[in-house]
């Protein structure tokens, strides 16, 4: 069961990366909005994933996006950071009833509000680091903040929509 779960996750990861690189990166709404949905893979990992595993995994995911975007290490740095911060965030966002019988962040089991808040926080950290590394040479704090803010909103929205689609398919089975 565990093995099948992981295979499904990896297939999902490949789809997320392809969607990111071939669709989202070519979509050019504005210079302020450039959403990244691939961190969804890191968000959805099981709560019990050991750190020796999640950190290199996050590094590899970020690095593969870097290869397509020619951003050399920026996504990797942001991903490793959110992977490192994740356990604290999970603790911080513990629902009143605790995480009983839930082994991974999921929209259907923890509710839309919990999932959206958790995603928003993780994506906000990711985008802050990524865009800081991208833009700090421009010395334009207003531009940086607006870019982080708007892109975070759009990315979070997209991830929640994705989670809805995924949850629906699970219910049908």
């Amino acid at each position: 069961m565990q093995a099948i779960n992981w295979i499904l996750r990896l297939v999902g990861l490949i789809f997320l990366i392809l969607f990111q690189v071939l669709v989202l990166n070519k979509l050019n709404v504005s210079t302020y909005i450039h959403p990244y949905v691939y961190p969804m893979f890191i968000i959805l990992l099981p709560f019990e994933t050991p750190r020796w595993m999640i950190l290199p995994l996050a590094f590899a995911v970020g690095f593969s996006i870097d290869m397509f975007n020619n951003t050399a290490g920026m996504h990797a740095a942001a991903c490793v950071f959110i992977a490192f911060a994740r356990p604290w965030l999970i603790k911080r966002y513990t629902p009143i009833t605790g995480y009983e019988n839930v082994n991974a962040p999921s929209l259907s089991e923890l509710g839309v509000v919990w999932f959206a808040l958790f995603t928003l926080t993780v994506i906000f950290i990711h985008h802050s680091i990524y865009y800081f590394l991208q833009v700090f040479w421009m010395n334009d704090v207003g531009y940086l903040l607006l870019k982080i803010f708007l892109s975070t909103l759009v990315s979070t929205l997209l991830i929640v929509i994705f989670a809805f689609l995924f949850a629906k398919r699970k219910v049908k089975r």
């Binding site: 397509f68 975007n69 020619n70 740095a77 833009v135």
Partner: protein
């Protein structure tokens, strides 16, 4: 010593985190400095092939536009052909006095393109097998595009004009007053020309073109048109705000400029600076 190892083992996550962050940041801060082919870019096997396959699909949806732009370019070239039949000083730009061509062009297709990032790159479907080398200029029929920074056998990565480290000297066409191109990192349709001294009488809509000084582009390749200009406070230099003639959002076919006498020129320039030292 034993307690030291125990300490590391207990807090391995922090050390692993620190190590991975250091590796990432090392790449961030050295990437633009290395100019040898390295594996973290879209010219490598996996990402290049994925982008190329997708590009092949996407091509079918824009066949009409591509046809139109090629027709347009053909018409332009035909016009130049007629002009070049008349002995005209403009033909000197393309050939040297012995009639030897100065530039050849390698056509390539854009398979990866970004223009909303603060530093943009373009991936092309041709590489060193087709004769592309680093530091070659890249143009389209409508204007300049960038400079080749990384090459693999089958792909190459171009630093777009829309990049903080892209440098080139350009000039206002009508009076040849020169300045330096710099992109502020926000709008993919506009670029600044800084350090223009004495631009004379400028008008909105004046053409800005490449110069003979910039080694990677042929002279008189369009950069854009002047939209506004002003004097920098506290100096004698002017800054021009230029609307780019290349549409970066719909780039599809480009030409990589091969300057045939480049080696001779750079060798001479290098030996001159060596002699000066």
């Amino acid at each position: 010593m034993r307690s030291f190892f125990l300490f590391i083992i207990r807090h391995y996550a922090v050390f692993l985190f620190g190590l991975l962050e250091l590796i990432s940041l090392y790449f961030v801060f050295t990437y633009n400095n290395f100019h040898n082919t390295f594996f973290i870019n879209s010219a490598n096997g996996v990402s290049g092939n994925v982008l190329n396959t997708y590009g092949n699909f996407q091509e079918y949806f824009s066949l009409k536009e591509v046809n139109d732009s090629l027709m347009h370019e053909n018409a332009l070239l035909r016009e130049q052909l007629l002009l070049s039949a008349v002995p005209d000083s403009s033909s000197v730009l393309v050939k040297d006095s012995l009639g030897q061509p100065l530039y050849s062009y390698i056509p390539a297709e854009v398979i990866g393109n970004s223009f909303t990032e603060p530093n943009n790159y373009i991936t092309l479907n041709k590489g060193s097998n087709d004769g592309i080398r680093e530091n070659m200029g890249v143009i389209t029929s409508s204007g300049i595009v960038g400079r080749v920074v990384k090459v693999s056998p089958k792909f190459s990565v171009v630093m777009s004009v829309l990049h903080s480290q892209f440098v080139s000297r350009v000039a206002v066409q009508k009076n040849n007053s020169q300045g330096r191109l710099t992109w502020e990192g926000k709008s993919p349709t506009h670029i600044s020309v800084i350090q223009v001294s004495e631009p004379g009488t400028l008008n909105k809509g004046d053409s800005v073109v490449t110069t003979k000084i910039s080694p990677m582009f042929p002279p008189d390749i369009m950069v854009g048109t002047v939209e506004s200009f002003g004097k920098d406070p506290g100096s004698n230099y002017y800054t021009l705000n230029v609307r780019l003639s290349t549409k970066f959002s719909s780039l599809q076919f480009v030409y990589v400029v091969n300057e045939l006498l480049q080696k001779e020129r750079t060798d001479l320039e290098n030996s001159a600076t060596d002699a000066g030292n």
